[in-house]
């Protein structure tokens, strides 16, 4: 393989990567906003994690999925079980 050939391969490979990343990335943007709009998933509520971060504050989404229906669960409740 001569250097010229490798350089060309690199050029195409690089362009392919940039295309791929850009398309994937904008698809992700679409996904995020669509899911939010259709009510599939509410991403914005996660910003509460910084604000309600006292150990006694309620969890935004518990790691134990069965608990998620009970509203306003806090660490205290989880410890109590």
């Amino acid at each position: 393989m001569d250097m010229e050939f490798i350089r060309n391969l690199q050029g195409w490979g690089y362009v392919a990567m940039i295309f791929g990343l850009t398309i994937g990335f904008y698809a992700y943007i679409y996904h995020l906003y669509k899911s939010q709009k259709d009510g599939v998933k509410d991403y914005e509520k996660y910003s509460r994690m910084a604000l309600n971060d006292d150990i006694d504050d309620s969890l935004v989404e518990s790691l134990h999925p069965q608990n998620n229906k009970k509203i306003n669960r806090s660490v205290k409740d989880e410890l109590a079980e």
């Binding site: 060309n8 995020l32 910084a50 935004v60 989404e61």
Partner: protein, 487 residues
């Protein structure tokens, strides 16, 4: 509310690292001020024999502020923020507590050996990677311990989703690990030849390759030490201190990926290929620009978070620190790409414009964010009010003045010297000898040193304020929810 549940967050390790941040900030920046004065007044080189020359001290400054001040700041905030957003206490795991403390003490050993070895002139000379192999091994150990701590805490979390700041801490961990290992590949000479200093080594890469790896590292080390973890901080501390949720959480996710892609690979400057058709190259450039757009999202997201709440900027000095930090972040991410333009770079490279640019980012963005974050943590860690609001205000204005002096003088110095190097007379001969271009810099170097001194005095004020807060300020009964209480 206090202690109604059985557990509380445990800030032991966060406190350790807070002390380290302050101490190393003082050390690193004092050395910075010394070397700045050495350029203006070269007799200062000779105060401590061979140990006090500019060449020996400069790496102590750069490593001291990058791996000392900044990294301890990152650790201090991680051991604080990590628990809170995952809603799990370090006290719940003896193992993690042990790892955290071990990491801290090894880090102290590490810092001490770095300072001593650099003073002795034991260095590989590669910027931000000056340490010889035994210290590199220690670096890896400390870093792995941090990884254990991050993933350990995530493993026992209660909150299902990882808050965006945690993403950034993880990225810092992985990014630095990868970069550091590749750039520091070296062969210890003692083990091959059986003689000479046992700690000496020689780089695995030679010449241009060594330079390539080093710059790939240098550029990204800036990304992963001076940008990524600082964004982690601002995504937590700004909302928390102001009581405003992030303007758009989705935008924060997007800018995370935007930043990762852009920083690591998609700089666009690689596109100088021989026979690839022109239109392909053009498309490549266009797409890399489209890709860059969201990486600015972070800064805008932060400023928009304050929407409708700008009154806080007047009332609360910590908000001042955060908002000015994000402004400086925008400034330096704008300036960086400008310097990357070929013709601008031809002028700017090797001149003072580069340190000028670096310090916009480090003093304004990194320094202010860390100082502001630690002020926010203080009342929660020590259960006392911040000692003096007035002192914070003074510190803020003094340091802001220092930064402005620093970067304006360096811009002028850099452009002046760059122009003088290339100036020719009517016959095409160079107009200036090298020393002419050094002598003109004297006033700017003096101004920069004084600006740096202002900033350093601010750091001392911060240290004093923190000391008073921890020891003798008024106690508070209940943890403040948002704005930090201060006297």
């Amino acid at each position: 509310m206090q202690s109604s549940s059985a557990i509380n967050y445990d800030y032991t390790v966060a406190k350790y690292f807070t002390v380290a941040t302050i101490v190393l900030g003082i050390v690193g920046m004092t050395v910075g001020v010394i070397i700045a004065f050495q350029l203006a007044f070269p007799e200062l080189n000779n105060l401590f024999g061979e140990y006090g020359t500019f060449g020996r001290l400069r790496p102590i400054h750069t490593d001291g502020v990058a791996f000392g001040f900044t990294v301890s700041g990152v650790m201090a905030t991680w051991y604080y923020v990590g628990q809170r957003v995952l809603k799990v206490s370090m006290a719940e795991s003896k193992f993690l507590m042990f790892i955290g403390k071990l990491q801290f003490w090894l880090y102290v050993v590490l810092v001490a050996s770095v300072v001593v070895s650099l003073l002795l002139g034991i260095t590989t000379s590669k910027e931000y990677a000056e340490f010889e192999w035994p210290i590199d091994i220690l670096v890896v150990i400390v870093w792995v311990l941090w990884g254990v701590s991050i993933f350990g805490l995530i493993g026992i979390r209660r909150e299902k989703v990882l808050y965006i700041s945690v993403w950034y801490y993880i990225a810092t961990f992985l990014g630095v690990a990868m970069l550091y290992v590749f750039n520091n590949m070296e062969v210890p000479t003692y083990f091959v030849s059986g003689m000479g200093d046992w700690y000496h080594s020689v780089s695995m890469y030679a010449g241009s390759n060594d330079a390539m790896v080093q710059w790939w590292y240098g550029h990204n080390a800036v990304a992963f030490v001076f940008t990524v973890p600082i964004i982690a901080m601002i995504y937590y501390f700004l909302p928390k201190e102001s009581g405003q949720p992030i303007f758009s959480y989705k935008l924060s996710l997007l800018s995370f990926w935007g930043l990762m892609f852009v920083y690591l690979w998609a700089g666009g400057h690689h596109l100088l290929y021989s026979t690839v058709p022109d239109w392909v190259q053009t498309m490549g450039s266009i797409f890399s620009i489209i890709l860059i757009l969201p990486s600015w999202g972070s800064a805008i997201n932060m400023l928009l978070t304050m929407k409708g709440e700008w009154g806080q900027l007047r009332e609360n000095p910590l908000i001042k620190f955060y908002v000015l930090a994000s402004t400086f972040y925008m400034l330096s991410t704008l300036e960086g790409p400008i310097q990357a333009i070929k013709s601008v770079n031809a002028l700017a490279h090797f001149t003072d414009w580069i340190p000028g640019h670096v310090h916009d980012g480090t003093l304004g963005w990194v320094g202010f964010m860390i100082i502001g974050a630690i002020f926010h943590m203080a009342p929660r860690m020590f259960k006392r009010e911040i000692f003096s609001k007035k002192l914070i205000e003074t510190q803020f204005w003094l340091q802001t003045t220092g930064i402005v002096m620093y970067f304006t003088s360096m811009w002028i110095a850099g452009i002046t010297q760059g122009m003088m190097w290339r100036a020719t007379d009517q016959y095409g001969n160079l107009s200036y000898s090298f020393i002419d271009t050094v002598e003109v810099l004297h006033p700017y170097w003096t101004l920069r040193a004084v600006g740096g001194l202002f900033y350093l005095i601010g750091v001392f004020m911060w240290a004093y304020n923190m000391y008073k807060t921890a020891t003798s300020s008024k106690a508070i009964e209940k943890e403040p929810q948002y704005a930090s209480p201060m006297a």
